[in-house]
Symmetry: C2
DNA sequence: AGAATATATGTAAGCCCTTACATTATGGCT
DNA sequence: AGCCATAATGTAAGGGCTTACATATATTCT
């Protein structure tokens, strides 16, 4: 069944059917109704490919995600998808680990599917200095980064002010008189770098230097965080641990409890992302909420503005907020 | 740039270019190489819509998910996407809550995008007796259910044997001499019903009846689970709690700890799904692993078999496995 | 009333592929 | 050499839509 069937059944031309379908151009109310009724009766759905051929778009946005099984990313993807749908766009999901080469392939793949834009949920590769795949893609379609940013044409970033969030958290500890504040993190991402420098800035602000031994790196898992923290607790006295992700905080918490420390009296722990994990531990984790939801919604809004040729701001910064629970004072 | 450009540049006809592109038909090695080189040089990508128009498919599978921000679903979606990609299919993601009407709309939407199949990650609506939307969709494309099943043509289900998993867990408790075993669950899904009857079957097996007061329902959140469990613990003596999801087990655990109970000595708790949450609590949760990964992989395999017109089994049942941690003996 | 304008509808070209069928080239066989 | 089977390539017809432009009809104004 195609547009011709509808046209002949409704006794109009295919152009009129098309106009009814797209709400463009002038169609008399009578005709519109008749056409709609025929469409309804025959259960007609326009062929998306033919439409795509004509318009060169089927209103689809590619979502490139390092790993949707990660709670943080999953939340972002979930909201992105919902918001995009609200605006009439579908989401083509593409999960690629953090390998540059895979990332490049995935981008090509999305572009070959003629997506109208790409949203990246996950880390860029600043540390390796290679963002060419993103820059190239941005020549074809608008490129939106979630909690990341690259200064370049047609690239938009919505980020949370992770730098200040961490700086303030650490500052609060410093003001409490604590000095042995550790920072546990997992990846050299844009946001990772921001957080680390926020941690350092808090010390600098008070004319102190952070003890580099307290800056600990681990893998992205509670297990690895637990292991590294346990090691740290054996070697050094630590009064507080700030982490770059709730799942690391979970591991730190396990290690602290394992070491027999009273929380928050002997050691305070702060997570990041304010994910469900933070609500699931005992004691419940204080966590920095970096507003995934707001960031994602804003990202889609920005994108829609771009689609509608409105002015769009290239970099939007939202403010994080610490959600106090039971692992801090 | 289109296929004509490639054809003229390579001095062949568009049919030959098409044959090279699709690896169909006969093309001499010389010609193939020349064409490929031109394609490479000009950076040509075939127009997916035109191709879709011709083939009526662009190798895309719709993934319908109640909520990707849920860890369990996110894991499934992540694996599905990866496996589909391996087989050359892209994933069109569509998240709809659990409202029947939204679900129906989403299915229509996926069908209008001409997906080659639909995979449903999330509950069907058995309790409401309305699966017509799925049955209808299955008339158009193969329909695959993750951990759910409907007996109907063109519908495939890959499930985990939740019934026996729960039955055995409860049986173990009964054999330990425990009698006050509670079951905490959240939704009337296919799998939810299976689990509940598994719980009951364990009692029946020993010629006992489960105390209906110990079958507690709550919302899908640790908070709700915590609340309901706390209430239960006040009213009744409970020796073990079996839950339908890790996130409920987390709440139950919090309530038990809140009530001052020693775990697992005074109360044992078992989660379900063996998600990251189970590894994140203290004490770590014993959890029934219902093999999301295996189920998802199998689902994609089944689908590919269907695509390739091979025999495909309509219902595949995998076996769950309990992962013992610190909340049980 | 008749011209001028606005509205409604139709015609046909174009979007870029795939593929059945037609044609030509190649090579093996007698 | 001549014939046939096979391989290689080409031609042209869709596939179903959008839309510029043409045409027909309705409305408004003088």
């Amino acid at each position: 069944m195609n547009i011709y069937d509808i046209a002949s059944q409704a006794e109009v031309s295919i152009a009129t059917v098309s106009r009814v379908l797209n709400g463009k151009g002038n169609v008399s109310e009578k005709t519109r109704e008749r056409v709609l009724q025929v469409i309804e009766e025959l259960g007609y759905t326009p062929n998306i490919f033919a439409r795509g051929l004509g318009l060169n778009s089927i209103k689809m946005v590619g979502i490139l995600c390092s790993d949707v099984s990660d709670i943080y990313y999953a939340t972002a993807v979930s909201i992105l998808e919902k918001e995009l749908r609200k605006s009439g766009y579908d989401s083509l999901l593409c999960c690629t680990g953090d390998q540059l080469e895979d990332r490049r392939k995935s981008i090509d793949l999305l572009l070959s599917k003629r997506v109208d834009a790409i949203i990246l949920v996950g880390s860029t590769f600043k540390e390796k200095g290679d963002n060419s795949h993103i820059l190239d893609a941005a020549k074809e379609v608008p490129f939106v980064l979630i909690n990341d940013f690259i200064e370049a044409p047609n690239i938009y970033g919505v980020v949370c002010d992770d730098f200040n969030a961490v700086r303030e958290t650490v500052s609060v500890f410093l003001e409490q008189g604590l000095r042995r504040i550790a920072y546990l993190y997992d990846a050299d991402t844009y946001s990772g770098a921001l957080k680390l420098s926020g941690y350092q800035a808090a010390f600098t602000q008070m004319n102190m230097a952070a003890d580099t031994k307290l800056t600990v790196r681990c893998k992205h898992s509670p297990e690895s965080a637990r292991e590294q923290t346990a090691k740290l607790l054996l070697e050094d006295r630590v009064e507080a641990i700030v982490t770059s992700d709730d799942c690391l905080a979970v591991g730190a918490l396990q290690a602290a409890i394992g070491a027999g420390l009273k929380i928050p009296h002997e050691i305070q722990i702060v997570g990041f992302n304010n994910s469900m994990l933070a609500r699931s531990t005992i004691p419940a984790l204080t966590s920095i909420d970096n507003k995934v939801a707001a960031v994602s919604v804003t990202a889609v809004r920005t994108l829609i503005d771009v689609f509608e040729q409105k002015e769009a701001i290239n970099k939007i910064v939202l403010t994080a907020e610490t959600v106090k629970r039971e692992t801090t004072f």
